[in-house]
């Protein structure tokens, strides 16, 4: 039996400890904001925070999260108004929106560590997150805009 904190709630899990966090939060907890996009760590759609740092939910086993704090997009902020979420809305970033939870989680992780990232640092941090709709210019601008507010 594993105990994991997800969005501030203690969750007990007695299933396969190798279950990726992605499927754990989606199938077990119904937190469907975290998306499947590739399953192999190449797209970032599944990005969640482990103790505040972005990790790929598809590449992180539940066992690795035991005793740690998992945050999904649903728990990024209490009121949905994290500066990243606000910037995403202010700049009308999403098209289909499917990649955006992963993008925002990645951006929030970056800004938690680095309040004033350079353009190159933003690119480095965000290049693992694919947006097939092609919202990169706005994503980049939104990270920059959110940086002021974190």
């Amino acid at each position: 039996m594993l105990t994991i904190s997800v969005n501030g709630k203690e969750i007990k899990f007695d299933g396969d400890p190798n279950t990726p966090l992605l499927w754990f939060v989606r199938d077990e907890l119904g937190l469907t904001g975290t998306k499947y996009g590739c399953g192999v760590g190449l797209c970032g759609a599944c990005t969640v925070h482990l103790d505040g740092t972005a990790v790929r939910g598809c590449q992180t086993a539940v066992s690795e999260a035991a005793g740690k704090k998992v945050t999904t997009i649903e728990g990024l902020s209490a009121d949905g108004n994290h500066p990243v979420q606000q910037a995403w809305r202010d700049l009308n970033v999403p098209q289909c929106g499917f990649c955006q939870a992963g993008q925002m989680m990645q951006a929030a992780s970056l800004l938690a560590k680095n309040r004033a990232p350079t353009d190159a640092e933003i690119v480095d941090e965000m290049t693992g997150n694919i947006c097939r709709c092609g919202c990169y210019e706005r994503i980049h601008a939104a990270v920059r805009a959110a940086a002021g507010g974190v």
């Binding site: 499927w23 469907t32 996009g37 590739c38 098209q95 997150n129 210019e137």
Partner: protein, 790 residues
């Protein structure tokens, strides 16, 4: 847990759409009047009528189930004034789910803050055509949605007239209320302070007969609150940013099972035998089922294979890995991309079936002082929407219910009914948000799979999840192609003849026996509609037989055609020592509307389904976007070493787009794009903010397609399996700045045209022309790769 039901239903837990409409409209107090209200408004102009609007015919009439504009179908108003508007087209990122309801709201003078949008299930007899592809949503539904809103406004004013006992001409709808007018001393109508809100009028208004087209007026554009402003955010924006937006895999039903399917790696292949012993040992795996196979032409039939059903996605995935399957590959195992490409190029070197013939091309080439030619090729591409195909189905008392991210919900319903042998009334298709579509989700094989598996499980709800590998290896691929262009030049270097040969496996092979030839829709995409002013033109099609499923991908055959034609113009310019933009404008020639007959274009020329007289090829508009893009990009400016500008223009989906791509080559040969400048003439436009986002996205997808993405086959199997070997543009290298210039319509005949797709085609040729300008290196095969070879 967030359930789709909770999302779609109101606070009282009412079922969606229909019930809401029925509650408000059908059960209203003047029952008899409603008999006429279910009739769709005819799309016709009433000549000379005082309040007539400029209606024009579109291709919507030729689409299955045409258009519907009845406010009773699309609008509901509750007593508190909450307005509900139905979005009947699928949302895959273009913004259609916002833009069309916004048109209704604007015309009916509803306050957008008090409007909510709900998604229609697949029901074309009720809503009109729902096939969300071909960049048609706004093109075909701007008029019906304006009619719908204008009719609703009329009904609200008529209701206020009844309420106050005054003439309707003294009632003016304005921002969610109707204001009573009175005649001033000079006879002019002035507003009084008598007002009544939409909520109070709802019941009477909804009981009003729908006005005739000659009774309604469209708002003057100066009165628009939302249309054309670009200030209206997409309706799902907040939900998306908090992780609550519901996509295909986010619908959950109690007792739901999770399935993944191992499909034949070669199209048309079958399971020879399989062993599921190890699979069944995986905890959580509940069943393994073989699924029926496939025979060409199969339209959107599932491929068959072996399904693993489990109590979680992870268990199903693990179970599938442990399957031991022996496949029988069938005839398509001969498909090898390098040999196929050679064969296409060889076919393009020989005469083919003549599709367009103007003047005497043979004579022009026989008498040429010089012939100049080039071959252009492209690999297959997978749509690779971020959300892979996924669908949930259940069967209760013989009624099939599906939740899926489909572009064509009614087509999905039809295909399910046919496959399962049930009447269409027994099939319901709910449309979730689509995590991208790009043409892939027009094909409903994944939804049929879910229904088949639910049936196998006695009707239990089951979700079929495609992995990225499944998506890339079992797509309906963008075709692979060879395009050869030759021109005859006279002694003065004037182009006297043009010959274009296209060779590519056709989308038609998905629907009918494969003749090896393409068909009018593919011919109409940048091939026979080539707009240059050249006296002798011949367009020919050589045979190529399909060995995989060919489908449409955002902008379809326009990608290889624009790549070939627009690259060729720049090549010719270089050969003749001309500026590429000047050469392009000169080849387009004088301002004119191209006459299909004198241009020798086929009689059945496919103009994106639109009536040609309303949506002709207008060279003035084509040249205008070239000039605007060139001016805004500073065409001709001096750039540092290893940098260059390239230009291309293309008309597709009856929209004119020109792009200037600025390329900068790194020391290690990496191709970078600091800036793209695009001019788009899509006529009358309603949501410039989403047009910009579509054009920005088209540049990124254009770059992916030009530089990164290709699917190749070896022994009938797609060689790419995930984003490691099927690359797409990422933040590490994407068009850094996309400047979008939307052309203001200068004539009422510049109707609303497509936006979702036409931004893509000009990118690849503009990029390759820029690479040539920067380095003198000409690239003629897509994808080019990220780096120039030394």
């Amino acid at each position: 847990m967030l359930h789709y039901f909770e999302k779609q239903s109101g606070p009282a837990g009412n079922p969606p759409v229909r019930a809401i409409l029925e509650n408000v409209s059908r059960r209203s107090f003047i029952g008899g009047v409603l008999k006429t209200s279910g009739v769709a408004l005819a799309l016709q102009i009433v000549p000379g009528a005082a309040n007539a609007y400029e209606a024009y015919p579109t291709g919507a009439a030729g689409m299955p189930h045409g258009v519907v504009s009845d406010p009773h179908v699309f609008v509901a108003i509750d007593k508190d004034g909450q307005v509900t508007i139905v979005a009947h087209r699928s949302e895959m990122g273009t913004g259609a789910r916002t833009s069309l309801p916004m048109v209704v709201a604007d015309e009916m003078e509803a306050d957008w803050q008090r409007v909510r949008v709900i998604q229609a299930p697949g029901d074309e007899p009720r809503y009109g055509n729902q096939d969300t592809d071909g960049s048609r949503s706004v093109r075909h539904f701007i008029q019906p949605m304006r009619e719908c809103g204008a009719a609703m406004r009329f009904m609200l004013e008529a209701a206020a007239a009844v309420h106050w006992g005054v003439d309707r001409s003294l009632c003016k709808a304005s921002n969610h209320e109707v204001i009573q007018l009175s005649k001033g001393p000079d006879g002019k109508l002035i507003e009084t302070d008598k007002k009544i809100g939409y909520g109070a009028l709802a019941t009477i208004a909804m009981a009003m007969a729908v006005p005739r087209p000659d009774q309604i007026t469209f708002k003057d554009p100066s009165q628009f609150r939302y249309m054309g402003k670009g200030k209206t955010q997409i309706v799902d924006l907040h939900d998306i940013t908090v992780g609550k937006a519901i996509y295909g895999a986010d619908v959950h039903l109690p007792g739901m099972k999770y399935a993944v399917i191992a499909r034949p790696p070669v199209v048309g292949g079958k399971v020879k035998k399989f062993d599921a012993t190890e699979t069944k040992k995986v905890p959580g795996v509940e069943a393994v089922h073989e699924m029926a196979g496939w025979a060409a032409p199969a339209k959107f039939a599932p491929l068959g294979g072996v399904a693993v059903i489990a109590n979680s996605t992870y268990a199903a995935l693990q179970g599938r890995e442990k399957l031991a399957i022996e496949w029988e590959d069938g005839p398509n195992a001969v498909y090898n991309s390098p040999a196929y490409r050679d064969a296409m190029i060889a076919a393009a070197a020989k005469p083919g079936k003549v599709i367009r013939s103007q003047g005497d091309a043979d004579a022009a080439f026989a008498n040429a002082a010089e012939v100049f030619a080039a071959d252009y090729t492209q690999q297959h591409v997978a749509q690779a929407s971020m959300e892979p195909p996924v669908a949930l189905a259940r069967i209760v008392d013989g009624k099939i219910e599906v939740w899926a991210p489909v572009q064509s919900p009614y087509g999905t319903r039809e295909d399910i009914a046919k496959t399962m042998g049930v009447p269409i009334e027994n099939v319901t298709v709910h449309v979730t948000l689509l995590g991208g579509g790009f043409g892939r989700k027009s094909k409903c094989d994944f939804a049929i799979e879910a229904v088949q598996l639910s049936k196998t499980l006695g009707g239990k709800p089951v979700r079929v999840q495609w992995t990225r590998e499944d998506d890339l290896q079992h797509a309906f691929y963008h075709t692979t192609s060879a395009e050869r262009i030759e021109v005859a030049l006279d002694k003065a270097g004037k182009v006297t003849g043009w010959r274009h040969r296209t060779v590519a496996p056709s989308i038609l092979s998905t629907f009918a026996e494969d003749s090896g030839y393409q068909f009018k829709i593919e011919y109409g995409m940048g091939f026979v509609d080539m707009p240059f002013d050249i006296p002798n033109i011949r367009c020919e099609n050589g045979q190529a037989f399909a060995h995989t499923r060919i489908g449409w991908f955002r902008s379809v055959s326009n990608i290889p055609r624009a790549f070939a034609v627009q690259s060729f113009v720049a090549e010719l310019a270089h050969k003749l020592g001309r500026d590429p933009k000047d050469m392009l404008l000169e080849m387009i020639g004088p301002d004119r509307v191209i006459d299909i007959k004198t241009a020798g274009m086929p009689e059945d020329f496919w103009n994106y389904g639109e009536p040609y007289p309303e949506f002709p090829i207008d060279t003035a508009r084509l040249k205008n976007v070239v000039n605007v893009a060139a001016d805004k990009a500073g065409w001709g400016k001096k750039l540092p070493d290893r940098q260059g500008l390239g230009i291309a223009v293309h008309r597709s989906f009856v929209t004119y787009v020109a792009s200037v791509v600025h390329v900068a080559i790194d020391d290690d040969g990496t191709i970078r794009v600091p800036e793209v400048t695009t001019a788009i003439d899509c006529g009358f436009y309603i949501n410039p903010e989403r047009i910009r986002s579509q054009v920005e996205g088209a540049a990124v997808m254009g770059m992916s397609t030009a530089m990164y993405s290709g699917i190749t086959f070896k022994d009938g199997r797609a060689e790419q399996s995930n984003f490691g070997d099927f690359s797409v543009a990422r933040m590490g290298n994407f068009p850094q700045k996309v400047n979008v210039h939307i052309i203001e319509p200068t004539s009422p005949t510049h109707h609303a045209t497509g936006v979702g797709e036409p931004g893509v085609p000009p990118f690849a040729p503009a990029l390759c022309n820029a690479i040539f300008a920067a380095t003198g290196k000409r690239l003629r095969s897509l994808p080019t790769g990220e780096k120039l070879e030394a």
